[in-house]
C-alpha cells in the first residue's frame, strides 16, 4: 500500500509517516498542496491522507485536485474539531475521517479499509 500524507505541520506529518513506515506501510508526506500535487503527479498513491484545514487550501478542495491527477486514489481526512467532523459528515466522504490527535491503530485500520474498497467512498 502506498500512501501520501499532506498536512501543514511538518513535525506531525513526518513523524506520522515514519510510524506508518515502521508498520510496513509505504508513506510519503508533504506540507503544502503544491508539494503534495507534485508528488501525486510523479507517483501513484493508493490513499491520500489530508488535513481538512490547511492555511491556503481545504482538504476537500485538495481532494478534488488530486482526483484529477489520480482518479483511483482513495482519501482519509484528518480533522481537529467536532465542527469540522460535522462538516465532513454532511459530505460524501463521511466514512473516512479521523480526529486529531490520531491514534495510529485507528489510522492503520482506516487505511486497510479504504485500500480494500473499490470506487470513491460515499
Amino acid at each position: 500500500m502506498r500512501v501520501i500524507l499532506i498536512d501543514d505541520e511538518e513535525e506531525f506529518v513526518a513523524t506520522l509517516a515514519e510510524r506508518l513506515q515502521i508498520r510496513g506501510i509505504d508513506a510519503d508526506w508533504a506540507t503544502t498542496a503544491e508539494e503534495g500535487l507534485q508528488r501525486v503527479a510523479e507517483t501513484q498513491y493508493d490513499i491520500a491522507v489530508l488535513d481538512v484545514k490547511m492555511p491556503k487550501i481545504s482538504g476537500i478542495d485538495l481532494k478534488a485536485k488530486i482526483q484529477v491527477l489520480s482518479p483511483a486514489t482513495k482519501f482519509i481526512f484528518l480533522t481537529g474539531h467536532g465542527s469540522e467532523k460535522d462538516f465532513i459528515a454532511g459530505t460524501s466522504i463521511s466514512e473516512f475521517y479521523l480526529i486529531k490527535p490520531v491514534q495510529i491503530d485507528d489510522l492503520v485500520e482506516k487505511l486497510h479499509t479504504a485500500a480494500g474498497q473499490t470506487g470513491t467512498p460515499s
Binding site: 510510524r19 492555511p55 491556503k56 481537529g80 474539531h81 490527535p101
Partner: protein, 222 residues
Amino acid sequence: MKANETTSQETGLQFFGKLSAAVSHDLKNVLSIINEKAGLLEDFCHMARQGMALDMERIDAVTAQVKAQVERADQIIRCFNRFAHSTDHPIASVDMGETVTTLVRLAQRLLAGMEVSVAVQPIDPPVVITTRPLMVQELIWAAMQWMAAQPGEKKAMSLAVERCGDGARVLIGALGHPPEGGLDAAFCAATDAVREALQAEMHLDSASGMLRLQLAALEPPP
C-alpha cells in the same frame, strides 16, 4: 441599548470567537505532534524489546522535539490568556506594543491562510494609552484583514505603533504593494461602531499605501 452598541458587541464576540477558534486549532496541532512523538518513542521501545538496538541520539532528538512543542503550547496559552484578560475591563491602560504583538502571534494561522506575514516593528519606549482593550484589537485586526484583502500579491505587512499626544497611532503597511483607491464604504461601515467607541480615526495615505489608525486616549474609569 443603542444600535451601535449592539453592533459593536456582536462584532466583538465574532472577533473573539474567530481568534479563539484559531488558537484551539493551533493547540490541537501541538497536541497532535506531541502524540506522534510519544508514539514514536513507544515504537522504539517496542522494537528494542524485539532485539533492535536503540538509537540514543534519535531518542534525545525526539525528546527535545517534544519539549519544543510544550514550549510552543506554553507561548500560545500565555498569549491567549493575555488576550482573554483584555475583556476584564471595558476601559483600561493598554500597552499597545504588547497588544499588537500578542494579536499577531495569535492570528498567525489566520494570517497564513490569507498568505500574509506581519512584521511588528520594535516599539521603544512603550506606548501605553487608556482605551478599550478588546475593541482596539478588533479594529487593528479588521484593518489588517482589509489590507490583506486588497488586490495584488501582499506577502508581507508591517505593523508599527507610535505615540501621538495622549493617544497612539497604529501604522499598517503592505510592503511593496499599497492598496489602490481609498478606504471603501463597506469597510468603513463595518468598523463604524468600533471606531466611534474608541474615538478612532482611520486614514489611508494614498502615496505610501499606509493605513493609519489614530486612537484617542479615553477617559479612565472612575
